[in-house]
């Protein structure tokens, strides 16, 4: 029988992980550390290459016979096509400014989530196949062969980058890690490697209308239901104009706003605002998705989904497009749309029909963010707002990565918040965690799969840590945000790290505060929670309506 070790001997065990070189450390595909493989059905729907059943847990990922050639040719093509990619491969000087800025590194503690090292996964291939030193000296020059293990490592880590671009904000050269990730994911797609959550969303959006796969009549039913709910709370039933031709504006929102709580309450806020303004608008059941998971897979797929906006705008004969509180939709609009599907010269330069403001920033894309639209209305005194109806809310604002870093939308949501909340009800999180330095929710770019929850909680921890600070210091009980993925993933994030903090969209708060002529006295908010000081009336009201 083996001797039982003495406590002193046990205490001598080293808990330090072996200091292996990064090239020799392989990822382990355990449950919760990666997204599951895409089912063949979605690839077939999209005419994507190599649909097959495969599993990340298997040794054999059933790659096509010529996978290596496809990958390397594709890499070469992209290096020639995108000068930025070649620059990003060449220019990094390992200064380390980005290393500790990624929330996935901070939360997982895995060094390969340092952006510099994540990019190195691709750079090592670039050196091996595109530089003389790498070709001759190999590993000595930081180069390595493309093998199946390398492909697996790319799959593992490129799907632990949420394309949030926080690292880019700190890089002195402006290297865009998100672009490297996007192109890396494109190459993985080209050999039949995709994740289920993203491919299912893309397939559903392409074939049916939205990421969640709700058909047109279900979408319309949901909107009618929200109009009913608005009527219960406010006495006003907003119109729901769907697929109507000849209006001025096409409104597009992310599916999270009509499918999942708490986004649904935000959708009620939109409907109420448009009713208040008597806005000449329509919603399309074919452009029923503001989000664009295609962009998380490849530029080509992003382009295909984005094209629906403009096809619908043309079909319905609108003058311009108004977009809801979505995150990556706005990066797509601001940075890709014009190259992919522009110019949208059949549309007109957006002008607010209420204030006459010209949205010159949207001259090319013809698409205006609803926060710009609403902030402009408030600035011109066009909304009668009663902030006391949000007095039960003490708010902090989470800048969503894409509106903040890809379009600089920092002030407009804050301006709205300050006008719909009573004074002293809004508190900022610490300076190095907001605005262009915001921490990502940890679930962007197709990560909101439930099997991925442990990684999402790790990646979201730095954000949650700052929320906890304002929660404990100022009694913050809600986080406001303008992204549907945020609204979908923050509830579990808060429930795990900062219980007692709820989530809200900004237009839900607008809907609460908006005073309609002839409305019934409000005693509950859009979620039917009692307003402050109206608890008794609310109880009676709820007895009547429930």
């Amino acid at each position: 029988m083996a001797a039982i070790p003495k406590p002193e001997e046990l205490a001598n065990i080293s808990f330090r992980p072996p200091g292996r070189k990064w090239m020799d450390t392989k990822p382990e595909f355990k449950e919760g550390t990666h997204c599951h493989a895409a089912a063949p059905k979605w690839l077939e729907w999209l005419d994507y290459p190599f649909p097959r059943s495969w599993s990340t847990y298997d040794e054999d990922w059933k790659l096509p016979k010529n996978w290596k050639e496809i990958f390397l040719v594709g890499f070469n093509d992209r290096l020639n096509k995108y000068r930025s990619l070649r620059l990003f491969m060449d220019i990094c000087v390992r200064c380390g400014a980005c290393a500790d800025k990624c929330q996935f590194f901070l939360g997982t503690g895995d060094p390969k989530n340092m952006p510099v090292l994540r990019a190195e996964l691709m750079r090592s291939l670039y050196r091996r196949y595109h530089t003389t030193a790498g070709k001759i000296l190999g590993r000595l020059a930081g180069a390595r062969e493309l093998t199946e293990d390398v492909v697996k490592e790319l799959y593992y880590y490129l799907y632990q980058c949420s394309e949030c671009r926080r690292c880019s904000a700190f890089c002195p050269y402006g290297i865009d890690m998100a672009d490297i990730t996007i192109l890396g994911r494109e190459l993985l797609s080209s050999i039949g490697l995709g994740i289920e959550w993203a491919m299912a969303s893309v397939g559903s959006c392409f074939k049916i209308g939205s990421h969640i796969g709700s058909p047109p009549h279900a979408f319309k039913d949901m909107l009618e239901f929200f109009a009913d709910e608005c009527e219960v709370v406010t006495g006003i039933r907003p119109r729901v104009p769907v697929n109507e031709k000849g209006h001025e504006i096409l409104f597009i929102m992310p599916s999270g706003d009509y499918f999942a709580d708490p986004g649904t309450f935000n959708c009620m806020g939109y409907l109420l605002l448009f009713e208040y303004l008597d806005l000449d608008y329509t919603i399309s059941t074919f452009a029923a998705e503001g989000g664009n998971f295609g962009y998380f897979i490849s530029h080509e797929m992003g382009k295909r989904l984005n094209a629906k906006f403009y096809a619908e705008a043309k079909r319905l004969g609108v003058k311009w497009i108004l977009g809801g509180e979505c995150g990556h939709m706005w990066r797509v609009i601001n940075q890709y749309m014009d190259t992919w599907n522009g110019p949208a010269d059949f549309l007109e330069e957006p002008v607010s029909p209420i204030t006459g403001t010209k949205f010159e920033n949207a001259k090319s894309t013809k698409m205006v963010h609803i926060c710009e639209f609403t902030a402009d209305l408030i600035k011109h005194g066009k909304l009668n707002l009663d902030p006391s109806r949000n007095a039960h809310i003490v708010l902090t604002f989470h800048d969503s990565c894409n509106p903040a870093r890809a379009m600089g939308l920092l002030e407009e949501p804050r301006y709205i918040i300050k006008n719909v909340l009573p004074p002293g009800h809004f508190y900022e999180m610490p300076e190095n965690t907001i605005r262009e330095k915001n921490f990502c929710c940890g679930s962007g770019s197709g990560f909101n799969a439930d099997e991925y929850l442990p990684i999402r909680l790790r990646g979201g921890f730095p954000r949650a840590s700052a929320v906890r600070y304002v929660h404990e210091k100022y009694g913050v009980n809600h986080v406001g945000m303008i992204c549907a993925i945020d609204r979908a993933v923050f509830p579990p994030l808060m429930d795990y790290w900062v219980p007692g903090v709820d989530i809200t969209g900004i237009h839900e708060l607008v809907g609460n505060a908006l005073v309609f002529p002839g409305e019934r006295e409000r005693v509950v908010d859009l979620r039917k929670r009692p307003l402050k000081g109206k608890e008794k009336e609310a109880e009676k009201f709820l007895e009547e309506v429930m």
Partner: protein, 184 residues
């Protein structure tokens, strides 16, 4: 076996023991990560190190002076909530509590060499074993929470549809005599 005022000694050496313990915990991460965890002092730029630091301060306090179990669990949770969802096996996640033994022994090295193992060390180590048992409870609560969140998330995805279909009711509301879901 000798006797000494170990509690007084550990109280006096509090900062040294805590620093040694924290560094040992950091070293359960890959070297590059450990370097960062040690270096960055801003709590928002390095939230993991901050939580660990706050957690172990409380745990050390509990070790020396005793503490209500709920309060101890709160401090244990500040460390365990993070390690329970990181890439550790349960044993690896809870290693940190046993590293406190290592940190204390290291601090006592000179004393032990000169005078032998102090009797009180056994008592302190037993208390650490007691803390380790509490760690199991906290760890399990966190893992159960993780699975609960997965279920809640799925529910949240369909809650709007259920409301629309009139299939959910709030039984707390008065006058809610019928449960519409029974209409199936």
């Amino acid at each position: 076996m000798t006797r000494m005022d170990l509690q007084g000694f550990l109280s006096e050496k509090r900062h040294l023991v805590l620093e040694r313990w924290l560094n040992l915990i950091f070293e359960t991460y890959p070297p590059e990560t450990a370097r960062f965890l040690k270096r960055e002092k801003d709590r928002f730029a390095n939230p993991v190190a901050y939580e660990f630091h706050e957690g172990i301060k409380g745990i050390y306090e509990a070790l020396l002076y005793g503490m209500e179990p709920d309060r101890v669990s709160y401090f244990l949770d500040r460390v365990i909530s993070i390690r329970a969802i990181q890439d550790f096996l349960p044993s690896g996640a809870l290693t940190f509590i046993f590293l406190l033994k290592t940190a204390i022994r290291k601090e006592l090295e000179k004393e032990i060499r000169e005078k032998g193992v102090p009797e009180e060390l056994l008592e302190i180590e037993s208390r650490i074993d007691g803390l380790a048992l509490l760690c199991f409870d906290v760890y399990m609560r966190r893992r159960e929470k993780l699975y609960e969140l997965r279920v809640d998330e799925v529910k949240r995805r369909v809650s709007g549809l259920l409301r629309m279909a009139g299939l959910v009711v709030d039984l707390d509301q008065k006058n809610n005599k019928e449960v519409k879901a029974n209409e199936f």
